[in-house]
């Protein structure tokens, strides 16, 4: 047995004839073993650390201080009139300031802040609309209501959802959210273009209703085609006919 092999045995349950034989023949290993033995013995001699009596005392002191703190914070005096007055004054001041700041579009920081909030909302809407779960995409569509009515990226995402989302309910919600972008001619064009390619009757009805609400007379051609389409759903054809009458 080599010294190295012997050393690995020193730390564990040492034993075996080989080990004993090696110790007998090797002085350095013998010294090592006795050194380790003494170390263990002196470790055993160390007294066990007992928690001192003051630990308990200090804990209760702390607890008492905490309770006292709680108690001193508790006694709330009855509502005093000047508190109410101060609160009202602050509210008026805040409203006034807010009103003043709101009107001031020229200040660059405000404009920047506004832009940042808008882009944050855009980001939330766009990223939620990319999610796998239909429920999350619905949330994304809800966020689109908070986007700026001029936000073309959110509008684009909504139009994509109307035309391509696999879930009917997401398409329905997206059609509804287009109302937010009613002012843009792009929106109206997108709705007219979406109608012929849409195959789900309920979404077709939602698009027709939207065109009526937009009072979009230029949709008459598409509506006429749909109303005359034998292959289309009866309810949808009736709705298209009704829309034509409304738009005249």
């Amino acid at each position: 047995m080599t010294c190295e092999q012997a050393r690995t045995q020193m730390l564990g349950e040492s034993g075996g004839e080989d080990f004993a034989a090696h110790l007998a023949s090797c002085e350095s290993c013998r010294n090592e073993v006795s050194r380790i033995g003494t170390l263990w013995q002196s470790l055993d001699l160390l007294p066990l650390e007992e928690p001192s009596g003051t630990v308990r005392e200090r804990f209760y002191e702390m607890l008492g201080a905490y309770r006292q703190g709680l108690a001193s914070a508790e006694p709330r005096k009855a509502f005093v009139w000047w508190q109410a007055a101060a609160a009202a004054a602050l509210l008026v001041l805040g409203l006034g300031l807010g009103y003043g700041v709101r009107g001031d579009k020229s200040r660059p920081e405000m404009a920047q802040l506004r832009e940042e909030v808008a882009s944050m909302r855009q980001l939330v809407a766009l990223s939620l609309m990319q999610q796998q779960s239909a429920s999350e995409r619905l949330r994304g569509v809800t966020w689109a209501y908070r986007a700026e009515p001029s936000d073309r990226e959110v509008l684009g995402a909504l139009v994509t959802a109307v035309n391509h989302d696999t879930n009917v309910n997401v398409r329905l919600a997206a059609v509804d959210a287009l109302r937010r972008f009613a002012a843009s001619p792009e929106t109206r064009r997108a709705v007219i273009e979406a109608l012929p390619s849409q195959t789900t009757p309920l979404v077709q009805v939602a698009l027709i209703d939207l065109l009526v609400d937009f009072k979009e007379r230029s949709a008459a051609g598409v509506l006429k085609t749909l109303a005359a389409n034998q292959g289309a759903n009866d309810g949808v054809r009736q709705q298209a006919q009704w829309a034509l009458e409304k738009l005249q």
């Binding site: 239909a134 429920s135 619905l138 309910n169 329905l172 919600a173 309920l202 709705q239």
Partner: protein
């Protein structure tokens, strides 16, 4: 002959398996039980039932095959031969990334149904093109159901529900909802009958073209959103008409995530649980 076919898939082994003609039951394990599970069902025909249970695997059972439904009796193979295929409602099952996918082929004769049992905590997405009814029960997770022909019935579930039927009614009873999840129920021809927990906080958006809306919730209707349109043509000898928007919005218990109800021909009923 009834065979028990046990298919155990791991993420590494993802080849889809086609159930042989006689097999009526198959068990598929999710590759990682500790991660969120998902079940996706796409069928061309037949009815679909998804049921949560206490186990850890997906158990798929088919009831009746198209081949037999058409012939009305067992077709015996010619002497010395065995059947290897036909126009049965072949069911294909695969597992990948903790998602079990089940699809059945286009079989116009199939009256087949499929019953799938999954662990209660599983997200479920069911899409039936020419099928009958979709039934989902005892599930906790995100639930999506889309049915072309039949009705959608969802009972004893928690989480969130997004359901559509083209020609059937939607019945859903939800025990508790995941906060912040949006939900939506829609049908072209049928009523929507939804039961929600009494404490739910939600913004509701209701629309029916030819129907009524009923609820026992205290729904605070949004009066500012869309004022009624007044059409006054009396000076020109015309008529006077007040028209309310078909869409109604409101809040329950102070408002929260959006829940959308849309139907063309049918009533909307929202019950308090």
């Amino acid at each position: 002959m009834k065979k028990l076919l046990v298919l155990s898939f791991t993420a590494a082994l993802m080849a889809p398996a086609v159930l042989p003609q006689d097999a009526q039951k198959a068990t598929v394990a999710f590759s990682d039980p500790s991660r969120p599970r998902k079940l996706v069902v796409e069928t061309m025909s037949g009815s679909i039932t998804v049921r949560g249970y206490g186990g850890q695997e997906a158990i798929v059972e088919t009831t009746g095959t198209g081949f037999r439904a058409r012939k009305g009796k067992e077709t015996e193979p010619p002497a010395g031969m065995h059947r290897i295929g036909g126009d049965s409602a072949g069911v294909e099952i695969s597992e990948e990334n903790n998602t079990v996918r089940i699809s059945s082929g286009p079989s116009p004769f199939a009256q087949a149904g499929v019953v799938i049992q999954v662990p209660t905590q599983t997200s479920v997405s069911v899409n039936a093109r020419l099928g009958n009814a979709i039934t989902i029960e005892n599930i906790t997770g995100e639930i999506e159901a889309n049915n072309m022909n039949g009705q959608v019935t969802i009972t004893n579930v928690s989480g969130s529900v997004v359901a559509h039927s083209m020609n059937g009614k939607i019945v859903a009873s939800i025990n508790s909802v995941t906060p912040d999840k949006a939900m939506s129920f829609s049908t072209m021809n049928g009523k929507i009958d939804v039961t929600l927990p009494a404490s739910i906080k939600a913004n509701v958006k209701l629309k029916t073209n030819h129907g009524d809306i009923f609820t026992d919730f205290d729904v605070k209707l949004d009066s500012t959103a869309q004022p009624p349109q007044v059409e006054d043509n009396r000076q020109k000898g015309g008529r006077y008409r007040v028209q309310f928007d078909r869409g109604t919005t409101g809040t329950i218990n102070g408002g929260g995530p959006e829940i959308q109800f849309t139907t063309f021909n049918g009533d909307i009923l929202i019950h308090k649980k």
